[in-house]
């Protein structure tokens, strides 16, 4: 895997890289170069399978990470191409032209994260959800518990007592350095 990483670095400039397992390596690259890299890997280096396409929300950094996972069926090696895009109006280039099944992945990421892939068919078409009106649910700032409390009633009449707090109250645990 070292060779291909080296070659990528030579062709596509500075990258972040890491060999996770003998048959799995990770590459971080700027978003503009991601799709050219994917194309090159598919056309020239035998990484013809798009195994997976995923997104990660790094809300603290204000970024979404897109991860394309390519597979080389000859060597069974896997290459993880990661790229970070801005969290405001996120958009990325589609790979549906290279791999037809990417349409589904891109449709799902569009629905679940709100990342748009201009040019990919089925963008904006609901895939999993129906009648969803809130922010895309897989974003970190979507609070599923708050949503449930607001919209999905549960059964009432339960009362949990936290042991730690309960003991503190019952035995008169006090602090003297802070009012």
């Amino acid at each position: 895997m070292k060779e291909i990483l080296k070659e990528i670095e030579e062709r596509f400039g500075p990258i972040w890289e890491r060999v996770q397992r003998p048959k799995l390596a990770q590459v971080g690259i700027e978003p503009a170069k991601a799709v050219p890299l994917l194309t090159w890997l598919k056309e020239h280096r035998g990484y013809v399978t798009l195994v997976h396409l995923s997104a990660v929300d790094w809300i603290e950094q204000g970024e979404f990470q897109l991860t394309w996972l390519l597979g080389n069926p000859e060597t069974e090696e896997r290459l993880m191409i990661c790229s970070r895009i801005d969290r405001e109006n996120p958009a990325a280039e589609t790979v549906s032209g290279l791999w037809p099944q990417a349409v589904t992945y891109e449709q799902e990421i569009n629905e679940m994260f709100g990342v748009s892939f201009p040019g990919s068919p089925r963008q904006g078409v609901p895939f999993i959800l129906e009648g969803w009106k809130d922010i895309p649910p897989m974003r970190r700032d979507f609070d599923t518990v708050a949503f449930v409390e607001k919209h999905i009633p549960g059964r009432e009449g339960r009362k949990h007592i936290d042991t730690r707090t309960y003991i503190g109250e019952k035995f008169g645990e006090k602090g003297y350095l802070h009012d």
């Binding site: 129906e130 009648g131 009106k133 599923t144 518990v145 999905i152 009633p153 009432e156």
Partner: protein, 216 residues
């Protein structure tokens, strides 16, 4: 039926209880008003006979709504053989009188389940499996699954556990049959009589409401 409809306090607190004037058990849904027998004792006896027949021909709609459906297969096939209890799988709602809600219901599924349920001819019963139908189960904090089935559909029997085994399902069906024979399993009637309450709850959670309005 109109005079019987009660309008319970909407939001929550569980389905309305005991608000319905008690009709003779198992009274007609197939029989028209003019065909209804007159003498109470005769009526009673007929109801009993009808209930006995109903209890022994539970036809389950084949709709695996959730993970509990996996245990319906052993139940329906050779090992546990539910046909010896008079229970059979039917492919469409029009032929069925038992709806098994096998666990959690995603909101998208709930809509289909409601529609299927409303297409089933009365009398019909709902068997709910597992924790998820009672209080959300392990998906209690999921934005896409309901937590309490009884807000949206009338449940006759809950089979507890996650997930209930075929043996527990047998016990559940036997309980359902017992209740039908006694004339206690009347969730379908409850649904009809408190349709507004159920519809209100359903509409709260199903945001793109496009179900047909059935007219009972």
């Amino acid at each position: 039926m109109d005079d019987k409809i009660v309008k319970p306090e909407p939001p929550l607190g569980g389905p309305p209880q005991g608000s319905r004037p008690h009709a003779p058990v198992g009274d007609g849904c197939f029989l028209g008003e003019e065909m209804k027998p007159q003498a109470p004792s005769y009526k009673e006896a007929l109801a009993r006979i009808k209930n006995w027949f109903r209890a022994n021909s539970l036809w389950v709609m084949a709709y695996g709504t959730g993970c509990g459906a996996i245990e319906l297969r052993p139940l329906a096939t050779a090992r546990f053989d539910m046909e010896r209890l008079g229970i059979a799988m039917r492919p469409t709602p029009r032929q069925s009188n038992v709806l098994i809600v096998s666990g959690y219901l995603a909101v998208k599924s709930l809509k289909r389940v409601i529609r299927s349920y409303e297409q089933m001819p009365s009398p019909k019963w709902i068997v709910a499996l597992g924790s998820c139908t009672i209080n959300g189960g392990m998906y209690w904090d999921s934005y896409n699954t309901i937590n309490r089935l009884d807000l949206y559909l009338p449940v006759d029997v809950y089979i507890n556990g996650c997930m209930p085994r075929p043996e527990a399902l047998v016990a559940g069906f036997q309980e359902l049959m017992r209740r039908i024979k006694k004339g206690e399993a009347d969730g379908w009637r409850h649904y009809m009589e408190n349709l507004d309450w159920y519809k209100e709850n359903q509409k709260k959670i199903i945001t793109d409401w496009d179900l047909p309005e059935y007219n009972w």
